[in-house]
């Protein structure tokens, strides 16, 4: 008998590689034994690090068989994940969330703003949207230069997208000196058909407030424990939305109250 193994089950996946590509930033390649469905950009998976933790990570790339993730060491879970090498097994649950759930018009031009490890889902977004002829300019801001890695190298499908960098320690000379928000102020956002931002809540809050009339899309982070809309830990304040089933991408107007009331800053 073959029972449907649903998308919320934990399925085995083999580590193909897991390497540090910038300070505390890893690229993890997994080969799942079965894949429930084709992931969309901004879909995420819960990565089960056996007996340690289960961590939500957005999909950074997918080649039809292997999944790539970009993650930053934050606490015990990500630290333990970083110790996994070739051929070790983890579990994956997903793809979760609605993904990007935006229907951009063909051949439009979009601005994507990423703060820090918020860069994770962007390579797969660029790759997928390329198929609709959509042009993405990427503004990526980080605190210190050693967090930067060469996106074109690790994700060749990004070649063709303009990448603008901003470092807060100002050590990267070919980019802006300052936060992503500082850099944003130098860009003519009106020339884009749409804007998507992802990064720390503090950054998203400013973007939503400053560009409110453009109603940008933003990808949020909340505590995700179950990934299937049951446990309630991922709720978006002052809304009827759950990040894990309705997100992680929202329009600013849907979540502005959440950002206003959020003091968390990571």
């Amino acid at each position: 008998m073959n029972y449907m193994v649903g998308k919320y089950s934990v399925r085995p996946a083999k580590v193909v590689s897991n390497i540090e590509i910038a300070k505390d930033i890893y690229i993890l390649e997994l080969e799942p034994l079965h894949l429930h469905e084709i992931p969309q950009p901004f879909n995420f998976f819960m990565i089960w690090v056996p007996r340690v933790d289960e961590i939500p990570l957005c999909i950074a790339d997918f080649d039809g068989r292997k999944l790539k993730f970009l993650y930053k060491i934050r606490g015990d879970g990500t630290k333990a994940l970083a110790k996994h090498y070739k051929d070790m097994m983890v579990g994956i649950k997903g793809p979760l969330g609605k993904g990007v759930n935006i229907r951009p018009t063909l051949n439009s031009k979009w601005l994507v703003i990423a703060g820090g490890i918020g860069i994770a889902p962007i390579p797969y977004l660029i790759k997928t949207w390329k198929n609709y002829g959509i042009n993405i300019d990427l503004l990526w801001g980080v605190k210190t230069m050693d967090e930067i890695f060469n996106i074109y190298n690790f994700f060749p499908s990004s070649v063709g997208s303009k990448i603008i960098l901003a470092t807060e320690d100002c050590r990267y000379k070919n980019g802006y000196c300052g936060t992503v928000v500082d850099a944003l102020r130098c860009i003519d956002v009106k020339e884009y058909n749409g804007i998507i931002a992802i990064g720390p809540n503090s950054m998203l809050k400013i973007i939503c407030l400053e560009l409110y009339e453009l109603n940008p899309y933003i990808a949020l982070e909340t505590m995700v424990k179950c990934g299937m809309g049951i446990c309630g830990s991922c709720y978006i304040k002052a809304s009827d939305k759950l990040l894990c089933t309705d997100g992680p991408v929202f329009s600013c107007s849907e979540v502005i109250e959440h950002l206003r009331s959020s003091n968390i800053n990571y």
Binding site: S9, W48, C226, C231
Partner: protein, 302 residues
């Protein structure tokens, strides 16, 4: 066709509510549950103090189509009750506050807050199978069930519903709960289970053991409802593995007046409740039931 029903004196638009533990501990959750179309809100089980719960993994789907969970009764503690009740009232929604504790005193503490906050009823969780001290240790002993229900009944004026899990003496425990003053029974909770990953050779849930819910437990739950109904004809809320109108109808003809839905609400689909109600209406039509009450327990009597 009339789907209205009253349970423990509470009037419901239709028999479907969420099961405890499906959202239900934040104001936002209540909004979401209303969107799903429930006729009443059941809160997450609330304990006197906030509880952090277990670290993930806390909830996974199994190859057999069920879920296994060990959330660890994460909840904000009794102080959150008034806000939850108010939010429900703002939307004219009946709200049942599920309460948990490790001893009679703790149950009383939470029950009093719910009572004073104006909740419509209290559901006493006597059956959580995976959080040590809370639940199943109490629920398997009919004597303990009697004592907890009795002591809660002595301090509150709103109706009490006792939620029991599968146990050897569940029928006897049901009888004791009624005797002690429960106006209705919720049957059943999840069943203690285990899922081990054969690739990493490790249990997947952080807590190792968890409670099994969803379609796998449905025929067991229907059996418990039938046995308890046959013995005492109390007011019963059927719970366990409802995912279609057929599962719901089966509970009703086994003796349930109202129903709770947990696992089937996963994934955030907005039409689970709607399609169950639609199915129930068609089914009533086929049988010529003009009122859902005509169907309650009909397979037991018939």
């Amino acid at each position: 066709m009339n789907l209205e029903i009253s349970i423990a004196g509470i009037k419901l638009r239709h028999p479907l509510m969420n099961a405890s533990g499906i959202l239900g501990y934040a104001r936002e959750h209540i909004l979401k549950l209303i969107r799903y179309g429930v006729a009443a809100i059941v809160t997450k089980t609330i304990t006197p103090k906030p509880k952090r719960g277990y670290d993930p993994p806390i909830l996974i789907e199994l190859p057999n189509g069920g879920l296994i969970n060990a959330v660890g009764l994460e909840n904000p503690g009794k102080e959150a009750i008034p806000e939850l009740v108010n939010e429900a009232k703002r939307h004219y929604m009946p709200i049942l506050v599920s309460i948990g504790g490790v001893n009679e005193q703790e149950f009383i503490e939470v029950a009093s807050v719910a009572n004073d906050a104006g909740a419509d009823a209290i559901e006493i969780n006597l059956s959580c199978p995976h959080t040590k001290g809370y639940g199943i240790e109490i629920g398997t002993d009919p004597h303990n069930v009697y004592n907890v229900v009795k002591s809660v009944a002595s301090v509150v004026s709103i109706p009490i519903i006792a939620k029991l899990g599968l146990s050897d003496k569940v029928v006897e425990a049901a009888g004791k709960a009624i005797e002690a003053g429960a106006k209705a029974l919720t049957l059943i909770n999840t069943i203690k289970s285990l899922y081990i990953d054969v690739y990493t050779l490790k249990p997947v849930l952080t807590n190792i053991f968890g409670g099994l819910s969803g379609p796998p437990i449905h025929p067991i739950a229907v059996r418990v409802v039938y046995e308890v109904y046959k013995e005492f004809q109390p007011e019963i809320i059927g719970c366990g593995g409802i995912s279609s109108w057929i599962d719901a109808a089966e509970f009703i003809i086994a003796g349930a007046r109202a129903l709770q839905i947990g696992t089937a609400l996963r994934g955030g689909s907005q039409n689970v409740i709607v399609s169950i109600l639609e199915g129930l209406r068609n089914w009533m039509l086929i049988h010529g039931f003009r009122d859902i009450r005509e169907a309650i327990g009909i397979s037991v009597r018939g």
